[in-house]
């Protein structure tokens, strides 16, 4: 613990004010602690999805045809999932992680124009993903899958819906930082304000990295 040696009895009140035992910023520890906590939140949702996988009493089902209630009568319904759309959403979310890490890089270097460009691109990607999800949910609904139709629909909408709400919050947070940056209020020494939002954004992305194969690709 080298930090003890750096502290002396001669610290000024201002030095003491900035004293931390680890030398790290408290806010960054807090966002990581929050992310750790969120891991258990999504673990609970994912485990419920997996525990109930294949236990639906009626259709529609994710990967296979089934009997389901559609337009007021029981009939054969097609499989719910169509991979192209969600694969596009996945790719966009992955790229947004790439964009925001570039935005942070340029924020730390003080390249405001590039910071604004990459951060704007990140926000656009986030908006695309949310729109994709809204479209997907609506589409599924028209295919006969309401929120409480069966165990699959319930656990699917709850898991991906909570993820989507996290993405939405991330978009709002990143937009706020973008607004600050555009007004010149994100100098390199304040780049932590972006780093916190970026860490949250990456976390939302890695959650999707788990959800995408587990929910969409495992039959």
């Amino acid at each position: 613990m080298a930090q003890a040696a750096t502290a002396t009895a001669e610290m000024s009140p201002a030095d003491e004010h900035h004293w931390t035992s680890t030398g790290l910023d408290s806010r960054k520890i807090a966002i990581w602690g929050f992310i750790g906590s969120e891991c258990l939140f999504f673990a609970s949702l994912i485990s419920t999805y997996l525990v109930y996988k294949g236990k639906s009493l009626v259709g529609p089902l994710p990967h296979t045809e089934s009997q389901c209630m559609l337009h007021g009568k029981m009939q054969t319904c097609e499989a719910i999932f169509e991979t192209p759309l969600v694969t596009a959403g996945t790719a966009v979310l992955l790229f947004s992680s790439f964009f925001v890490v570039l935005a942070l890089y340029h924020a730390q270097k003080g390249n405001r124009a590039k910071l604004l460009g990459w951060l704007g691109a990140t926000v656009m990607c986030g908006l695309f993903f949310v729109s994709m999800q809204v479209y997907e949910f609506t589409h599924f609904y028209h295919k006969g899958m309401g929120y409480s139709t069966n165990l699959f629909s319930t656990t699917f909408f709850t898991l991906t819906g909570f993820h989507g709400s996290h993405v939405t919050l991330g978009v709002i947070w990143l937009s706020t930082v973008l607004f600050l940056a555009a007004r010149g209020k994100l100098p390199p020494e304040k780049s932590l304000n972006l780093e916190l939002a970026a860490l949250y954004w990456h976390f939302v992305d890695v959650v999707w990295i788990v959800i995408f194969p587990v929910v969409y690709l495992m039959r």
């Binding site: 990581w32 673990a43 525990v51 194969p213």
Partner: protein, 116 residues
């Protein structure tokens, strides 16, 4: 692991370059492609390698997903060169989360299956 010794507050000097970030983005894209490919090959009897891939789709997906997860966490979230504290704050909850998912599946789907 030597990167952890970087002095706190000066770690941005050790951050990867944009080129490095770009390479990782490409790797992530390729891994995602393999994921979808494994899924498509795995459930189309006519596809090439179908008989090889079909029984191992789930392990393939888990490994690829874990690889993507690790890449984003290590490089984009900077865990590789940031303080080890942050890695601990992420890794241990993930271990617990994985144990929770696995435990519930085993408890309910396997051991409790007779009555469920």
């Amino acid at each position: 692991m030597d990167a952890h010794s970087a002095a706190p507050g000066h770690d941005d000097a050790h951050h990867p370059s944009p080129a490095m970030y770009g390479k990782i983005a490409i790797v992530l894209f390729i891994l995602t492609f393999f994921e979808v490919a494994a899924y498509e090959v795995g459930h189309r009897p006519a596809a090439i390698l179908h008989s090889v891939v079909e029984p191992i789709v789930v392990p393939i997906l888990l490994v690829l997903s874990a690889a993507k997860f690790a890449l984003v966490a290590m490089f984009y979230m900077h865990l590789k060169q940031d303080s080890k504290l942050f890695s601990n704050l992420f890794v241990w909850p993930i271990v617990l989360a994985a144990a929770l998912i696995l435990g519930l599946i085993v408890l309910i789907r396997l051991w409790h299956a007779a009555t469920f």
